[in-house]
């Protein structure tokens, strides 16, 4: 299988901040790569370099066999980009937006129009096709944005946090669209800070933090790196959390995660149902009010926590403006922790 994207030793600095510190990755043709990391990890910088918007300071990047610096015009003809913020012209209608982008990919006028109609139908926007995009909801704008990046049937699609800021229903809808595209054979590089999203959509994942790759593999491989299971409780009162954590501390194989606000306790364990039974026996007579109990495989949140020492969706305290969070090159780059 040939690689649609090859990245070697990519370095990018913004002033004194090193946003990328030697990133290597490959994406086989027709597969979906999930690029995971917290805000400021360097995900968007990778996308911007691969889509020719930014030049790397060192290293090499190829998309469909073309160098992103030397053959940038040819690269642009083969890719589609959906950035973090829906880049649609709000004064144009949905149809006009798509037609314009189609024309700028140099599709003949008739093709641009028929393709626009086709994509509007596919992304459930036919009813709104002739309304200015200003009147669209956030989810509709995102769908229009993705439709625009697909108009010329790109071989490689870059989706930079495609569901950030969407409500849960729109997010599920977006996942279905992305899964359909992947089934259709489009190579996709998807950045996200939602581990569930990567788990659901990506064939393989690359986890970056502070501009470096800290793990890579399939979702199952990453989970195997963490190992064991998670024993999870939800209690009736917040005082129960500490009480239970104390009683169960000899069963855990690693640091438990306790959250008094949500009254949840998560214990890394080994030994399956026997541990579960043992845990319940130890809680007998303690008076703690167990609302919910379960045993599960580690999810990517656990993976992330284990690999980086901080949670994936942890907000960056030093970011003064929430609307700037995750934008790169921001002053916050590399300061997450």
């Amino acid at each position: 299988m040939t690689d649609a994207i090859v990245v070697e030793g990519l370095v990018k600095r913004f002033g004194a901040t090193t946003a990328l510190d030697g990133v290597d990755l490959t994406v086989p043709e027709g597969s979906v790569l999930g690029l995971l990391g917290p805000n400021g990890a360097g995900k968007t910088t990778v996308v911007r370099i691969l889509t020719t918007l930014l030049r790397a300071d060192a290293g090499r990047a190829e998309v469909v066999g073309l160098d992103v610096v030397r053959d940038s015009d040819a690269v642009r003809a083969s890719i589609g980009l959906t950035g973090q913020y829906a880049a649609v012209d709000e004064y144009l209608t949905g149809f006009e937006n798509l037609e314009m982008v189609g024309r700028l990919y140099h599709l003949p006028k008739r093709d641009a129009r028929s393709r626009a109609d086709e994509l509007l139908a596919r992304f459930d926007l036919s009813d709104a096709a002739h309304r200015p995009a200003k009147t669209y909801s956030g989810g509709m704008r995102r769908r229009l944005d993705i439709a625009a990046s697909l108009i010329a049937r790109p071989r490689v699609l870059f989706l930079d946090e495609p569901t950030t800021g969407l409500d849960p229903r729109s997010r599920l809808g977006m996942w279905e669209f992305i899964a359909d595209l992947a089934d259709g054979g489009t190579t996709i590089l998807l950045t996200t800070q939602y581990l569930e999203e990567a788990d659901r959509l990506a064939d393989r994942m690359v986890v970056i933090d502070h501009g470096r790759v800290i793990a890579r593999g399939t979702g199952d491989e990453l989970k195997a790196q963490v190992g064991g299971q998670r024993l999870e409780f939800t209690f009736g009162r917040s005082v129960d959390v500490a009480e239970a954590a104390d009683r169960l501390r000899h069963l855990t194989v690693d640091q438990p995660r306790a959250d008094e606000q949500t009254r949840r306790l998560s214990l890394p364990v080994r030994g399956g149902t026997e541990v579960l039974a043992e845990a319940l026996r130890r809680l007998e007579g303690s008076g703690v009010d167990v609302l919910d109990v379960g045993l599960r495989r580690p999810d990517l949140d656990d993976v992330f926590l284990t690999l980086t020492g901080h949670a994936a969706e942890q907000d960056d305290d030093s970011s003064p403006d929430p609307s700037l969070a995750g934008r790169e090159p921001a002053a916050t780059t590399g300061s997450t922790r």
Binding site: R48, E90, R103
Partner: protein, 265 residues
């Protein structure tokens, strides 16, 4: 596609996009038409009584070419504010990721703003005719007069494009350009004859290209009572054209280069 035909085709696509916005945002039409009408009426009737111009020309005739010039130069600031807006909204990122001509976004922007300026001038000319302004020359000379006004404003649009790409905030672009453009359009022969200026200001005004644009328009419309004896105002069409070409020669390549490496933050 050859690169020239691609530039033209992509430039037209972007021009069309920008003009659709003009159609859908009423404030833009208001800015482009109502405020010039207001300016013509205010200056004609508020200052018109106080300001006397020599010779047998009425103030309305003297005034209109000045207002034309001021309005189109101000009109060209829209280029900067609109590009800053596109940059903020991530549209420039989208355009830069497309296989389109590198200059098309700027060509499309400046051409759309030129069209808006032409609309402003047409509205002002009609208002001017209603308040006593007349063209006394041939159709060819009058057309050249409008061409000088619009051509100079088009060149200024390219300067504003660079400002917009560097400053990145539409409001700041507007404020910053007003600080520069107000003096440039007022310290000129726009509203009053240069004879009334104190000497330092007068030298600046005589060599201010806006003065030459206004003088050129006055000559070509037959609204002039004569010009001070300085080269820039004795050869106003040539001097204004030299400025226009110089601005384009510097700011077209500079703006395109900045566009190619710019990105939203």
């Amino acid at each position: 596609m050859t690169s020239l035909s691609m530039t033209v085709a992509d430039g037209l696509t972007i021009t069309r996009r920008n003009l659709i916005k003009v159609k859908r945002v009423p404030d833009l039409i208001v800015f482009a038409t109502l405020s010039p009408i207001m300016f013509v009426l205010l200056f004609r009737y508020v200052f018109g009584g106080a300001i006397n111009v020599p010779g047998d020309i009425s103030y309305a005739e003297f005034l209109l070419p000045g207002i034309f010039a001021q309005t189109v130069v101000f009109g060209s600031t829209i280029t900067g504010a609109s590009l800053a807006d596109d940059l903020q909204k991530g549209l420039i990122d989208r355009f830069r990721s497309l296989p389109m001509a590198h200059s098309a976004v700027l060509v499309g922007r400046t051409v759309a703003d030129l069209a808006l300026n032409a609309l402003s001038i047409a509205v002002m000319a009609l208002t001017g005719l209603a308040v006593g302004w007349r063209i006394h020359t041939s159709v060819g000379e009058a057309a050249l007069g409008f061409l000088v006004l619009l051509g100079f404003a088009y060149a200024v649009s390219w300067l504003m494009a660079l400002v917009g790409l560097i400053v990145r905030t539409p409001e700041v672009v507007n404020n910053a350009s007003f600080i520069v453009i107000f003096p440039i359009t007022f310290v000129a022969n726009t509203f009053v004859p240069l004879e009334t200026f104190p000497s330092v200001l007068r030298h600046f005004a005589e060599w201010n290209p806006v003065s030459s644009v206004v003088q050129a328009a006055r000559n070509l419309f037959g609204n002039s009572f004569g010009a001070p004896d300085v080269w820039s105002l004795q050869h106003p069409v040539l001097y204004a054209a030299l400025w226009g070409v110089a601005i384009l020669a510097v700011f077209v390549p500079l703006s395109v280069r900045t566009y190619r490496s710019t990105a939203s933050r």
